[in-house]
Symmetry: C2
Subunit: 218 residues, 2 copies
DNA sequence: TTGTTAAACGGAGGGTGCCTCCGTATCTTC
DNA sequence: GAAGATACGGAGGCACCCTCCGTTTAACAA
C-alpha cells in the first residue's frame, strides 16, 4: 500500500508521512507527465527519474510498475473526460450529446501523446488503469448511450465497451498528418450508423449485417 | 540492395547468390513469422535469430531494421487481403461487399498477433510498409468505396485512408476477450453510417455533423 | 580438384533501459 | 538529541538493441 500525498491529516496512530517522500512523489509525477506526453508510453523511466532529480530506486518505490505511474499521471485527465459526459446528460439531443463527447475526446487526446496509450491500456484488460478508467469511461459513455436509446433515437444493441473500443481505436492511429479531422469524420459516420433507421429497408440490411455477432457480449 | 531469393536465374554477369544466404533468409523469415505472430511486434529479434538457428548478425544483414523484417513477413498477407477486395468488385451489393471485406480483415487479424501491428505501421507514415501495404490496401478499399459511391448507395465524403484508419484502429484493441465480435458489430454500425440516408431529416443531421471536417483531407 | 576471392557468417562488445537490493542518509517522534 | 522508522539512490544483474570485424564458406575459374 502506498500513501497518497495529502489525503488528509494522519489518520489516528500512523506516523505523519515524511516530507521528502511527499515532495519526491510530486516531482516524479510532474516529470512523468512531461516525459510521457512528449515521448509516448515507451519513454524511459530513467529519464523520468533524472528529470525529477531523483534516483531510479525512488521512482520505483513510489510506482512499482510502469502502469502505476501511468495511472497516477492520467487519472485526473480521465476524470475530466468523465465529468464532461455528466454535463452532457442535460443536452437536448442525446445523439448529438454523444457525438460531442466523442469529439471532445479527440481534442483531449490531441495534445497528449501519452494519453492515447493510457486510454488504450484502459481498454485492454490486465492493467491497473482498467479498474479505474475503464469503469469510469464505460459509465460515462453508458449514460449517454442509455439516454439516447431510451429516447428511441439510437439502436440499443451496442454496448458502451464496444463504443469505447471503437473510439480509442480510431484515435490510436494518430501519427499521420491530418489524423484529427479524419477521426472526427469517422466518428460522425459512426454516430450516424448508431442512429435508429427511419426506413424499413435500411433496417433490414442492418439486421442482416449484425447477425454474425451472436451474443450481446459478456 | 538485397537479393530476393529465387527471383530468377542470375541476370547477366552477376554471381549466383550463395546457397547458404538464400537458405538463411528463408529460415529467418519463417522464424520471424512465428515469433511475431505469437509475441507481437515487440518480440525479441534475438529470439528470432535463435529460433532460426542463425547468428544475430546474419539476421541484421538480411533485414537491417525491424520494419524491414516486418515488411517481408507480412507482405504476402497484405497482398492476399488486397486480392480479396479485387474479387469482391463483382459482388452485387457494393455496400455489402465493403462490409464483407472488412469482416474478412478481422478474421485475418484474429490469428496473427503481429499482423495488427504490421498494418498499424502501414497506416502510420515513415515505415517502409507504408509504401507498399498502405498503397495496396488504400487501393483495395478505394475500389470498393468508389463502386458503392458510384451506385449512389454510399456517401462520397469518406476517403479510403479514413476508412483504413478506422478499421485498423478498431482491430488494434484486440486483447480483450470477445474483441472479435465487438469489432464486427462496430464495423456494421460504421458501414450503416456510410450508407446514404434515404430520408431528408436524417440527411440534415448528417450534414451538420460532418461540417467540422472542413477539408477533404491532405 | 584445387585455389582465389567475394560474400556471408556469427558472436563479442558497447550502449541503453528495466528492475531489485541494500547500505546510507534523513525525517519524525519522544 | 537519540532512536527508530522510513526513504533515498545508485550499483549491479539481466535483456535487448545494433555494429563491427575476424573467420568461414560457397561460387567460379583454371
Amino acid at each position: 500500500m502506498i500513501y497518497i500525498a495529502g489525503m488528509d491529516e494522519h489518520t489516528d496512530q500512523t506516523r505523519k508521512p515524511r516530507a521528502d517522500a511527499v515532495r519526491n512523489r510530486e516531482r516524479v509525477l510532474e516529470a512523468a507527465k512531461a516525459v510521457f506526453n512528449a515521448g509516448g508510453p515507451d519513454a524511459s523511466l530513467e529519464a523520468v527519474a533524472k528529470r525529477a532529480g531523483v534516483g531510479i530506486g525512488t521512482l520505483y518505490r513510489h510506482f512499482p510498475t510502469r502502469e502505476d505511474l501511468f495511472e497516477a499521471v492520467y487519472r485526473r485527465e480521465v476524470e475530466q473526460l468523465s465529468e464532461f459526459a455528466e454535463q452532457l446528460k442535460n443536452a437536448k439531443d442525446p445523439v448529438d450529446a454523444l457525438r460531442r463527447w466523442l469529439h471532445s475526446g479527440v481534442e483531449f487526446v490531441a495534445t497528449k501523446k501519452g494519453m492515447v496509450a493510457a486510454l488504450a491500456l484502459a481498454v485492454q484488460s490486465g492493467s491497473e488503469l482498467h479498474a479505474f478508467s475503464f469503469e469510469r469511461l464505460t459509465k460515462a459513455i453508458g449514460s449517454l448511450l442509455e439516454r439516447a436509446a431510451a429516447a428511441g433515437a439510437m439502436r440499443a444493441d451496442v454496448s458502451p465497451e464496444d463504443l469505447l473500443r471503437a473510439f480509442f481505436g480510431m484515435c490510436y492511429m494518430h501519427d499521420q498528418p491530418g489524423w484529427q479531422s479524419s477521426v472526427l469524420r469517422m466518428l460522425d459516420v459512426f454516430v450516424d450508423g448508431l442512429r435508429v433507421r427511419p426506413v424499413a429497408k435500411a433496417n433490414a440490411h442492418a439486421a442482416r449485417a449484425t447477425k454474425p455477432a451472436t451474443k450481446r457480449k459478456r
